[in-house]
Symmetry: C2
Subunit: 230 residues, 2 copies
DNA sequence: CGATCCTTTGACTCAAGTCAAACCTAGTGG
DNA sequence: CCACTAGGTTTGACTTGAGTCAAAGGATCG
């Protein structure tokens, strides 16, 4: 919010990843694409570890992720937190946020992130007047729900090893889907504490599981040090 | 909304609970109510423990819960299962189901249940042509997402006691919201195994927690034996 | 009067948490 | 350049909440 000084251009933001994602549901018309482009405001840059919105705030706008990695989380009274989901380029969030009085979770940038706001009126126009876009967006929501379900199953019924494996697979699949990975290696700029807060574990235990997996050559951590972000 | 009293026609199903729920988001017009009534088909009765839909099936129709208690769940390869959410009267499900090729969870009736189908075409008509209804339905979806988030936090970061407490509170609140409970006592026709499958625990451990809570008079299990269902 | 689910109990195990210290960067600023 | 920090990662020793197994009691219902 404060960091937005660096906002890229005067013009509209990059909705390329979103278009790519929606297209994999149904081919969008030229008109659909134009509508999308006109719906988003000028993009905003947010530095890593900066809050994007905070639990309890009144919902201000919806956003499209253009670049980077962010996560939704809730923090508990005792200081622990639970990460609820990750936002990758192309993800929409808070589309229905205006219907509630307050955000019930926080969103923070994990890496440096660029987002493109979508105004309330643009959302209404889009959902009401563009059946195909509207369906595509509902399709995204269904997918997010499915991911939440998967995570619930992981936390409820899988041990630490399986949870870690599951999260890695999710991230690989999602990054492949939006063209951020060609093979099975991804950039995953999360700390072990982040993983722990996602998977309902402690950082110490995540560490042990990761070492085990490395020892078995199930995963390979490679610090490709090129700073290219997500 | 007394309007709906006259809606109990011969053919159509009882959408009273749904109307009540949507109304708590925004007052519905006479027209909205009529539309809802016309959107649902004739109601179907489903006996306890009968499947309503099965993971992998092609989505057939959306439903409104009219009476009873149902749950969505996924079963794992090793026979265990995870319950994802409960459906109470007034809850919609599978509204966006048509957008995926296959159901990714199963739904089963916990008690005897009556549901009212909504055809695909009715959904489209409703979402496209009735902004207020459409918003109300999106609002419901937001609430469901919030419940999923709560459950995720419970499974990820709370111990058994807190998970049980959380689930009971959720059910009390939800039943009060739709007028199924006046005080803080509810009908919760779940076995301890159901609770375990919801909370990521074992039935044995749920049993121990429940006993502890009873000993401390935090809860009181009362077999009010009148067979009145949800 | 079995048969079938649930619930309870007890003894034992184990996956994951806790605590605490050491180690490793990468970044900062003198 | 180098000490100084501050996150993040490892390690080891110990604890504990929840799972497992197995058997015994209720209910409920043809």
């Amino acid at each position: 919010l404060e960091v937005s000084a660096l906002a890229r251009t005067n013009g509209r933001a990059d909705v390329e990843p979103l278009i790519a994602k929606l297209s994999s549901f149904a081919a969008l018309s030229h008109n659909d694409v134009r509508t999308l482009n006109e719906s988003v405001g000028s993009e905003r840059r947010i530095a890593a570890h900066q809050s994007i919105c905070i639990e309890g705030d009144a919902p201000r706008a919806a956003f499209v992720m253009a670049r980077g990695l962010a996560c939704r989380y809730r923090s508990l009274a005792d200081g622990r937190r639970q990460i609820l989901s990750y936002l990758l380029p192309g993800d929409l969030f808070n589309i229905n946020g205006f219907l509630l009085k307050a955000m019930c979770y926080s969103v923070v940038a994990v890496t440096s992130v660029t987002i493109a706001p979508i105004e309330r009126t643009a959302i209404s126009r889009l959902l009401a007047g563009h059946p195909r876009l509207s369906a595509a967006i509902r399709w995204c929501a269904q997918q997010e729900e499915a991911i939440l379900h998967e995570r619930l199953i992981a936390l409820g019924r899988q041990n630490a090893r399986a949870r870690v494996a599951f999260l890695f697979c999710e991230m690989v699949e999602r990054q492949r889907a939006i063209g951020l990975s060609e093979d099975h290696s991804i950039r995953l700029p999360l700390t072990q504490l982040d993983l722990a807060d996602t998977l309902g574990l402690t950082a110490v235990h995540v560490n042990r599981v990761l070492q085990e997996m490395r020892r078995e050559n199930l995963i390979r951590l490679g610090g490709a040090p090129d700073a290219a972000q997500l």
